[in-house]
């Protein structure tokens, strides 16, 4: 067994999709950054960001092999320590972090920067997997529920004040993982309904929503069997909903900052200021929309060349795909992401240990929420929240964070035959 290759039993489907996505990302970064410089240079030119991305990709190769070389048991054994180190690295930002564009999210070593929140995602996934795989943990137990939620909220609390609401948002996906492992359904429903009410409260007058809520609750109450009728619970829910709806207005007007309000207003079509806050979304929609069925062709995007879309090589990288490769190209890229995520869920479900199954779910969840929030923002159906597109967006920390996240799981999956 000792002489086995590190790639033995590895899931090649996932690896191939990973490689395709990384290369496509790099090609699009090349296209999106060509615009702002004079003339074309080599894609390997390390003074340009596509050249740097190439270096990041090169460096992920040894990273992958290191992860695969480590014994699968190592991650389970040291999950809590890894999580603790990760939390420390996040906390350390308050002391040693470098502020870029108002966000204190980076450690700087010379010109090289590292973003610890990208690695915290994998660490938190390990911690949750470790906690849930404990035989004594049963999520039906309220105390356990609270403890599990604390694991999730610790990194959120450290990331939010940086401020990096995008990265913080990512951790909410772990709720879905907890649900898979036995968290009562009402947590998830409460979450969904809260989001729905939040959106409605911004669009409609509070009193309208309260009347609708009352009607729905009464409907459910009278349709229930007699013994299930619970007027106390119904009343509590109604009061909570009303309180929530009114507080949304208050929070929106008094707690949110103007740029938060703007982002929601743009999304809800309430205000459109194309020059200022709406610029990103507007330009992004123009770039994607101008692609048509087949796109303008690689390196031929006029919006991309003109550099109209801000942050196009990072959060808005998908606009290049949309403009140059059109609807069909976009479908292919989306298809690749969805295939990878579904494949990971499939692999997770066939894991023999609870630890690796929960971890696998976390990987799928993290990839999914990045994918969804990023693309939904770029196409204008989600507020502007800075979240990178995994494997695509420019950035070393991001690429390595996702690479480590994915390959730890692939290592566990490759190792499942040995786990007895």
């Amino acid at each position: 067994m000792k002489n086995q290759s590190v790639t033995n039993n590895i899931d090649w489907i996932s690896v191939v999709i990973y490689i395709i996505l990384v290369i496509l990302g790099w090609l699009n970064i090349y296209s999106s950054s060509l615009s702002s410089i004079e003339g074309e240079t080599s894609i390997f030119d390390v003074t340009q960001i596509y050249g740097k991305q190439f270096l990041f990709i090169l460096f992920s190769v040894p990273l992958v092999f290191s992860v695969l070389a480590i014994d699968a048991k190592f991650f389970e054994k040291y999950a809590i320590i890894i999580f603790a180190i990760s939390l420390l690295s996040l906390a350390g930002l308050f002391l040693f972090g470098k502020t870029i564009a108002g966000q204190r999210c980076w450690y700087a070593i010379g010109s090289f920067t590292l973003q610890p929140s990208e690695f915290a995602k994998a660490a938190t996934a390990l911690a949750i997997a470790k906690y849930l795989s404990d035989v004594q943990v049963n999520l039906k137990d309220f105390n356990r529920q609270v403890q599990a939620l604390i694991i999730i909220f610790l990194p959120i609390l450290l990331i939010l004040p940086q401020p990096d609401p995008g990265s913080a948002l990512i951790f909410s996906i772990f709720i879905i993982v907890l649900y898979r492992e036995g968290l009562p359904a009402w947590y998830v429903w409460t979450g969904f309904i809260a989001i729905l009410l939040f959106m409605l409260a911004l669009l409609l007058e509070p009193i309208v929503i309260i009347i609708i809520a009352l009607a729905v609750i009464l409907f459910i109450y009278y349709r229930s069997r007699l013994i299930d009728r619970n007027w106390i619970l119904s009343t509590i829910i109604f009061v909570l909903v009303s309180g929530f709806v009114f507080s949304v207005d208050y929070v929106f007007d008094n707690v949110f900052k103007q740029h938060h309000r703007d982002r929601f207003n743009i999304l809800l079509g309430k205000e459109v200021d194309l020059k200022d806050v709406g610029y990103n979304t507007n330009q992004s929609e123009i770039a994607i929309g101008s692609g048509g069925w087949f796109g303008k062709g690689y390196l031929e995007g006029t919006q991309t060349k003109g550099g109209f879309v801000p942050e196009q090589h990072t959060d808005y990288i998908f606009t290049t795909v949309g403009e140059e490769w059109g609807f069909l190209g976009s479908i292919v890229v989306i298809g690749l992401f969805i295939s990878l995520i579904i494949r990971i869920i499939y692999l997770a479900e066939r894991q023999k240990t609870k630890f690796s199954r929960v971890y696998g779910y976390c990987v799928a969840g993290i990839l999914f929420i990045h994918f969804f929030v990023n693309i939904a923002m770029v196409v204008g159906i989600f507020p502007t929240i800075g979240v990178p597109l995994p494997f695509f967006s420019y950035g070393g920390s991001g690429l390595w964070g996702f690479t480590i996240l994915l390959f730890i799981f692939l290592k566990m999956d490759a190792n499942k035959v040995n786990e007895w």
Binding site: K305, E349, F372, I375
Partner: protein, 644 residues
């Protein structure tokens, strides 16, 4: 259950995203347009407009460079407005107003900020152009007129209106387009095709190279030079003769249908509609609702033709076989065509076709006309036969010439009269005034000219046209197609001989030109107008049609002078001078010329103005009294004593 939630979420959200992408990329077209607007800059290269020459190769219309300052409002940055305004000699309020106007059109597309700078202004601005981001200079070519005449023939050039931009994709805001006259009719020939260059811009609006290596760029196509059939010298002379008069002159070469001169009076120097004064001058011309200098009387004025129409009455009667050269009618200073109805005539005695023409005898033509109509059992058949003959001369319809404005004129048919006299047994007597051109028939001067050209050709005409040649192209086939009338050739000879004696024996005695055999016909057309709600008879119009020489005609001409008393007083001499000018190239009768050049009908016109307006006018030169030998003739007054 717990396994299903997450995959379901993935599928639902993916479907949402795909729908949204489909909407953005496939359904919503506006985004493509927006993309082109902000990423691609289009630069135009305007070709020089084609030159316009006269029939003898004399250059009439050339070009001069002009510079427009264009603005793209969204690109205008903080600039030193004080310096900017003083450089262009505009006020700050002007500046703000112009920017606002441009913004209303489009913040992203260029609009004209200040049009038609001259070379000096251009040079001054160009030096400092770098300082004024968002502004640039667009070179265009403007007309440079080498002659002072022909404003109505040439038309003018103006900036396209928004209506045109919407209708015709070729034009962009600030482009120039020909309006009226030859400039409008031959717009596409003259303007050429502008070149387009697509330039990729970045978000700072910097140009970063040509779009797709210039795959879509086009090179400007030069406008073509054209030769008009106009004789510049004759045109200028005609306009001079018509100074201080109102009316029109149309001269046609009978053999080809080429228009030799197309004069409308009053007119203006075409050069006043060029440059920064254009708009001011145009408004002035446009608002002159009394003299109407922009109204091309030669093409648009529908007049009752009066006596020249007798030519057609005679020809049709001959063709219908109701008269021949020897048929005679007796005239007693008039013609009593029904009980209590009398058509006065200055003539008396026995009239045959020949002296009927040169004396312009009303009785003769009224009788011939009634015979024509009465040939048919039903008067409606008679009228329709008659109007079909008229239509074969191109009357009552658009002639199809190559100028953008025109009027049909009017040829009544049996339907016209059924409408006019419902339930009434109208007959040839009812409509007899048609015989002498005072009935329902209306003709424009160009139709009159074409009619006399047809007579000169003895029965055929080519559609009148103003184009002689376009470089490298044959003129339109329709101008090379012979139209033959329904009158046989043989009937033209007696008519022409009658018209010839108009000069020797008849109403135009003394207007002949030595060495040129002219055939012509005088005309005096009654006209009425409503002044303060009352029908008032105004001074008669003076008109004349002629062609020369009698054999192998080179020019056919119609002259119309509004309120010019009678045919031989103004229109006759002008016709005669025009013919002499064209054929001999010089004028021998200096007295007559002087009288016509200096003669003014303004006192006549001012009579009809409201008093308030009249008082503000300066007193015009006294009218020059025509010589005694000029005989007042062919006066027609229809006295309609109602029969109870």
């Amino acid at each position: 259950m717990r396994k299903v939630l997450f995959p379901t979420m993935i599928i639902v959200t993916t479907i949402l995203i795909v729908i949204r992408l489909f909407y953005l990329q496939v359904i919503d077209d506006t985004l493509k347009l927006k993309s082109d607007n902000n990423a691609i800059k289009i630069k135009y290269d305007y070709p020089e407009r084609g030159y316009i020459y006269d029939r003898n190769g004399k250059l009439m219309v050339a070009n001069q460079p002009s510079y427009d300052i264009m603005v793209i409002p969204k690109d205008v940055k903080q600039i030193d407005t004080t310096e900017f305004c003083s450089l262009l000699a505009i006020t700050k309020e002007d500046f703000i107003k112009k920017i606002e106007k441009a913004k209303v059109y489009s913040p992203r597309l260029p609009s004209v900020f200040l049009a038609q700078l001259n070379k000096l202004e251009y040079a001054a601005f160009q030096e400092k152009q770098r300082k004024f981001e968002g502004f640039y200079i667009q070179k265009r070519s403007l007309r440079d007129y080498q002659v002072k005449c022909g404003a109505n023939v040439f038309g003018y050039i103006r900036q396209v209106t928004e209506g045109i931009i919407k209708k015709n994709k070729y034009y962009n805001s600030g482009d120039l387009i020909g309006r009226q006259g030859v400039e409008e009719n031959y717009e596409e020939v003259l303007r050429g095709i502008k070149g387009v260059k697509y330039i990729q811009k970045d978000k700072f609006n910097r140009e970063i190279g040509s779009y797709k290596e210039g795959r879509f760029d086009t090179i400007a196509v030069q406008g073509k030079d054209i030769h008009l059939s106009i004789d510049a010298e004759l045109q200028a002379y005609g306009e001079q003769l018509m100074v201080n008069k109102r009316g029109g002159i149309v001269a046609i070469e009978p053999k080809t249908g080429e228009i030799l001169a197309l004069v409308t009076a009053p007119s203006y120097d075409p050069a006043i509609l060029v440059g920064r004064q254009r708009s001011k001058n145009y408004t002035k011309l446009y608002n002159d609702s009394i003299a109407k200098p922009l109204y091309d009387r030669g093409l648009l004025a529908e007049y009752t033709p009066g006596s020249p129409f007798k030519i057609l009455t005679g020809l049709i009667a001959l063709q219908e076989g109701v008269i021949d050269e020897e048929t005679s009618f007796v005239c007693h200073h008039g013609f009593s065509y029904a009980r209590g109805r009398f058509m006065r005539c200055h003539d008396s005695g026995v009239s045959k076709l020949h002296n009927g023409f040169y004396n312009s005898c009303n009785t003769y033509f009224a009788s011939a006309y009634m015979k024509t109509i009465n040939k048919y059992v039903k008067p409606s058949d008679g009228v329709d036969t008659w109007s079909n003959h008229l239509k074969s001369f191109g009357l009552g319809q658009f002639m199809g010439y190559d100028l953008p404005t025109g009027k049909r004129g009017k040829v009544p048919t049996s339907k016209t009269y059924k409408k006019m006299y419902p339930g009434w047994n109208w007959d040839s007597k009812t409509i007899v005034s048609n015989s002498i051109g005072q009935g329902e028939v209306l003709m424009t001067p160009i139709q009159l000219a074409n009619m006399i050209a047809t007579v000169a050709n003895k029965g055929y005409y080519y559609t009148p046209h103003i184009i002689k040649s376009i470089k490298g192209e044959q003129i339109d086939k329709k101008f090379r197609t012979k139209h033959v009338t329904s009158i046989d050739k043989k009937y033209f000879d007696p008519v022409i001989s009658g018209l010839y004696d108009v000069y020797n024996l008849g109403t135009a005695r003394g207007l002949g030109v030595e060495g040129i055999e002219i055939c012509g016909k005088t005309g005096t057309a009654e006209n009425y107008s409503k002044i303060n709600g009352k029908r008032v008879k105004l001074q008669d119009h003076s008109l004349f049609v002629a062609f020369a020489p009698k054999d192998n005609p080179k020019i056919a001409i119609a002259v119309f002078v509004e309120n010019g008393y009678w045919g031989a007083r103004w229109a006759g001499p002008i016709t005669s001078l025009m013919i002499e000018k064209y054929i001999k190239r010089k004028i021998t009768r200096k007295d007559l010329e002087k009288r016509m050049l200096e003669g003014s009908l303004l006192p006549e016109y001012n009579k009809y103005l409201p008093k308030a307006v009249n008082d503000t006018l300066t007193v015009p030169k006294p009218i020059i009294v025509p010589k005694a030998e000029m005989k007042k003739e062919d006066e027609i007054i229809l006295t309609e004593n109602k029969v109870d």
